[in-house]
């Protein structure tokens, strides 16, 4: 029987644009909720038609700011997915939430709609930092949002951004300890990245914003590992930490290179070897759905090599690494076609990788060098 399916739903709107953010997020005066609800449902139906006979094991509402979605729309999407495919008993339904009070007020309704996990974009508890990051919430709002999430939903997680300009080791350790004290089963801890096309990129180019260099960032990362491990939330992916069993099952599907359907603007999907991509701009997406009945911008069959490459790029982010047999099965290639055995031997010798049987993984010592490691280990063409 076919593997279960993960479903990603993108909500592209935000109250304001954060200066570091390059996600597909847009600020609009008003959003026609009827139109959007209809468009997402139509897009969903189209995808279900092409991917029949699968049970949905996770749904993820990502953004943008999906906590701005009317809970009724969330409920409708979940209900439609259940009707079209059916949900597995333990289906994980996550929604990304911003910790603004209005949105937190909707938590109970969202839970009632079927959401059983939230991921809150806290970023920091420090008022000055929140302002620097252009966030619309306060530290107190963040704390209240986490507490509310812990009561409303069975599972809660939140995001922090660290390795910020001028952030010292002691500051970060203090902030992280406070974060761990909430006792959530999951945490996403991202080092600030300057993304091209963002306001931060302009400031960085002008020299007005300087992020910690590689060595300082590495020190912060090491401290993060020590504290989270001690608190029982070890890293299971580059930037994600969980109490064992509390990992984001939805994201694990990406990293393990399982199949996922992606609906909504800019969403990407993988239907066993086929890549799908939706129109990115909200207006174009809606227009496409109105015109065609779905929002797809492109579909393409991924060549075997590319499938193997993607599986490696995604899988080696995980602590558990990749199952080479699985990548072989998903790509139809022998491992010698996509793994550079010489590089693996060298990197294993250096303590940066682990290889045992069909398992290949990057070690704690290597994970911060993942991109360099990939460029040596992954054989393309």
């Amino acid at each position: 029987m076919a593997e279960p399916l993960a479903l990603y739903v993108h909500w592209p709107f935000c109250v304001s644009k954060c200066p570091y953010c390059d996600f597909n997020s847009h600020v609009r005066e008003s959003v026609d909720q009827q139109v959007w609800r209809a468009a997402l449902l139509a897009d969903l139906r189209h995808e279900a038609m092409l991917l029949p006979g699968r049970a949905v094991s996770s749904i993820f509402f990502g953004g943008g700011t999906p906590s701005l979605m009317p809970p009724a729309t969330v409920a409708a999407v979940i209900a439609e997915a259940a009707a079209l495919w059916g949900l597995t008993d333990d289906c994980e339904i996550t929604l990304e939430a911003n910790p603004n009070s209005v949105e937190v007020a909707a938590f109970a309704d969202l839970a009632a709609a079927g959401v059983n996990r939230v991921s809150i974009g806290v970023q920091s508890f420090d008022p000055q930092v929140l302002e620097f990051l252009g966030r619309a919430h306060s530290g107190d709002e963040a704390r209240r949002a986490i507490a509310a999430a812990q009561t409303c939903f069975p599972r809660a997680s939140f995001d922090l951004i660290y390795a910020r300009p001028g952030q010292g080791l002691a500051d970060w350790e203090k902030e992280l300890r406070a974060a761990l004290a909430f006792g959530t089963g999951h945490l996403s801890l991202y080092q600030l990245t300057i993304e091209p096309g963002t306001r931060f990129a302009t400031l960085a180019a002008k020299g007005e914003l300087v992020i910690p260099d590689g060595d300082a960032a590495a020190d912060l990362f090491d401290a993060t590992q020590a504290l989270t491990r001690a608190a029982g939330l070890p890293r299971y992916e580059v930037s994600n930490h969980a109490r064992p069993g509390e990992e984001s099952r939805h994201n694990l599907t990406y990293w393990r290179y399982g199949d996922y359907a992606g609906v909504g603007p800019g969403a990407h999907g993988r239907r066993t070897g086929q890549a799908t991509e939706r129109h990115k701009k909200p207006e174009n997406f809606v227009a496409a759905v109105e015109r065609n009945g779905y929002g797809i911008k492109g579909e393409s069959d991924l060549p075997a090599h590319e499938r193997a490459t993607e599986a490696m790029l995604m899988g080696l982010r995980l602590n558990e690494g990749i199952d080479l047999r699985r990548v072989e099965a998903r790509s139809g290639l022998g491992r010698e076609a996509f793994v550079d055995a010489g590089a693996v031997a060298r990197l294993t010798h250096q303590g940066l990788m682990r290889a045992a049987g069909d398992r290949l993984a990057v070690t704690d010592a290597g994970i911060l060098l993942l991109d360099s490691i990939l460029s040596e280990v992954v054989k393309t063409h």
Binding site: Y190, G214, E310, D371, S375
Partner: protein, 607 residues
């Protein structure tokens, strides 16, 4: 019909950069009707992109202007644009030798500057009549009196009659032309004597074959004539004679005193060497013109394609370039790490850079350049199987077993430097630091003429640049080789991650080995990106390490965030990193970027 000697004037324009030489040349062409306003593209004389960008002339160019002067007579004026760098010193001297005078252009606001002087000295050496032109008088900051005083005091030329001009606004153009006619002497020559013409320059034209620029001294050059190159000893049949106005125009003949071009179905510029004498094959002149010099490459380096697959393309491109530039040489070379490439010889570093730039620009090639070297002579003792012998070494990587080397000789030059007094001290120090031996020091007016013997090795890399910067551009420099002399020279190897990088090895004087080694290690430390492990960089002579640096291990290189199921960015990043690696070479697991090899050229004075 050739023009009578009395109605010919051959001149060049000399100026400091940006004082208006090109603009004035354009105006002269326009005024005399060589080109209509519509045909004028700015700076018609600078042909190649590289020339335009760098503001230097690499090939000599001439334009023949027809000018009817105020005396009612029509004159033939040949304007010669000369190459502008010491690497091409010989070509410059031949171009200047083809003229009787020069317009000296000085910016009315800037006054006399560095190259003004350097160029004037050269012009004076060729006995030119020099006509000062004060240009840019339209500028509000123009100070004609001050500039006149400078021309008289600093250069020592009378400036009372200087032409006042604005090349930009077209003021004083006719006055320039009048001054050329009245002040610059006509050439001398004898139409009845056997043909004697100087080969001023040559270049390859895809349509015409090799085009040869000549200055006729005696006799007449005609289409259909059988000519002989007296130095090369070859004979050719002229199939075209003509001149540039600046459009190419065909003529039936070129007479004494005139400058023009010929073609003779020659395929390779190497057959038409600058400075050779052209004579009539049937009625040859008794002796060639003086001053011929075999131009020989003095700097050698390896050029390797960054992508090994480009080797054939490199070969073809080098062959094509060579058609147009006989002064560089090449032969195939192979290196353990760089694969197949070519060992090339150049007139100097600028020449090297120009060739390298043309290869990458015109032929779209990514190249790795190895450390440049001069030619050493090695005396080797005999071995069991081989007698003692002497060899020439173009490539430090080919250095034989030091135990077999009895003696290493390096090429020396005699350099003549003119410089205003103010800069004398630092320049003497520079020469001294470069192991120079002072031969002579004289003063003329406010400037010194210094003669030094210097090892070429110490000069080719950056001496000229240093000289110019120390003297703020005022020093002029000329040199010729005076043979090889024994020196205390050693091969310095560079080891990256304990592996020798053959492309970076060089021969240095023992006394400066340590500081050069340190310089190299420091530079490489900055140029080689951090890797996943720490990398020792060492400079060594034989087995002895004389300098070392360590590149710390890279600690962070990871994409922190994930974009849901969108793998596009990660794939692009992977592609980019793989692409980047292609532009590097691997030694002992270390990827060395192309720039690191090129940087070996830029050994500053700290080295």
């Amino acid at each position: 019909m050739t023009t009578p000697l009395s109605h010919i004037r051959n001149f060049s324009i000399i100026a400091h950069i940006d004082h208006g030489k090109s603009t004035l040349a354009d105006r002269l062409i326009q005024f005399t009707g060589g080109l209509t306003a519509r045909e004028m593209s700015a700076q018609v004389l600078d042909n190649m992109d590289i020339e335009k960008e760098r503001g230097i002339t690499i090939k000599a160019q001439t334009v023949r202007l027809k000018y009817t002067a105020k005396d009612g007579e029509t004159y033939e004026l040949n304007l010669m644009d000369t190459p502008g760098h010491v690497d091409f010193a010989y070509e410059v001297s031949r171009s200047l030798a083809a003229c009787e005078g020069a317009l000296l252009v000085v910016d009315a606001a800037q006054g006399v500057e560095a190259q003004t002087l350097a160029n004037v000295y050269q012009s004076i050496e060729h006995d030119h009549e020099i006509v000062p032109v004060i240009n840019k008088i339209d500028l509000p900051a123009a100070d004609v009196d001050k500039v006149k005083a400078e021309i008289e005091d600093i250069i020592g030329l009378p400036a009372d009659d200087a032409v006042l001009a604005s090349a930009k606004s077209g003021i004083g153009i006719e006055e320039c032309l009048e001054a050329i006619v009245t002040k610059i002497p006509p050439p001398k020559g004898d139409a009845a004597a056997p043909l004697l013409a100087m080969l001023v320059d040559s270049w390859y034209d895809p349509y015409l074959g090799v085009v040869i620029l000549v200055r006729v001294v005696d006799g007449v050059l005609k289409k259909g004539q059988q000519i002989k190159f007296m130095q090369a000893g070859t004979t050719h049949l002229i199939d075209r004679v003509g001149c540039f106005t600046p459009k190419r125009e065909e003529l039936t003949e070129i007479g004494p005193g005139e400058i023009g071009f010929i073609t003779a179905q020659i395929k390779d510029v190497a057959q038409a060497r600058v400075g050779d004498t052209v004579t009539d094959a049937k009625k040859p002149a008794a002796a060639p013109l003086p001053g011929f010099k075999e131009v020989q490459p003095v700097v050698f380096c390896g050029l390797f394609p960054t992508d090994a697959n480009d080797f054939e393309k490199l070969r073809e491109s080098i062959q094509k370039l060579r058609l147009n530039d006989a002064s560089f040489s090449f032969e195939m070379e192979s290196s353990a790490a760089l694969g197949f490439g070519f060992r090339c010889g150049f007139l100097g570093l600028l020449h090297l850079e120009i060739i390298q730039e043309r290869l990458s620009r015109e032929y779209d090639l990514d190249l790795i350049t190895t450390a440049p070297s001069v030619v050493y002579k090695l005396k080797l003792s005999h071995t069991k199987n081989e007698a003692a012998k002497e060899i020439e070494l173009h490539n430090p990587a080919d250095m034989p077993d030091p135990n077999r080397i009895d003696e290493i000789e390096e090429p020396w030059i005699e350099a003549v430097i003119y410089v205003p007094d103010d800069y004398l001290g630092p320049i003497l120090k520079l020469c001294q630091d470069r192991r120079g031996i002072q031969k002579n020091l004289t003063y003329v007016g406010g400037r010194a003429q210094i003669t030094y013997e210097l090892p070429l090795n110490e000069v080719v890399f950056d001496f000229y640049d240093r000289l110019k910067s120390i003297s703020r551009g005022y020093a002029s420099f000329d040199y010729h080789q005076i043979g090889h002399r024994p020196g205390d020279l050693v091969k310095m190897s560079i080891l990256v991650n304990n592996e020798p990088v053959d492309a970076l090895s060089m021969i240095v004087h023992r006394g400066s080995a340590e500081s050069r080694g340190r310089g190299m290690c420091e530079r490489l430390k900055d140029l080689i990106p951090r890797h996943m492990f720490k990398i020792p960089i060492q400079a060594a002579i034989g087995g002895k390490v004389i300098a070392r640096e360590t590149i710390a291990a890279l600690r962070k290189d990871v994409t922190a965030k994930c974009y849901g199921g969108d793998a596009t960015r990660k794939k692009k990043l992977l592609e980019k990193q793989k692409e980047g690696k292609k532009r590097m070479r691997e030694y002992g697991n270390v990827n060395i970027p192309q720039e690191a090899f090129i940087a070996a050229l830029r050994m500053g004075d700290d080295a």
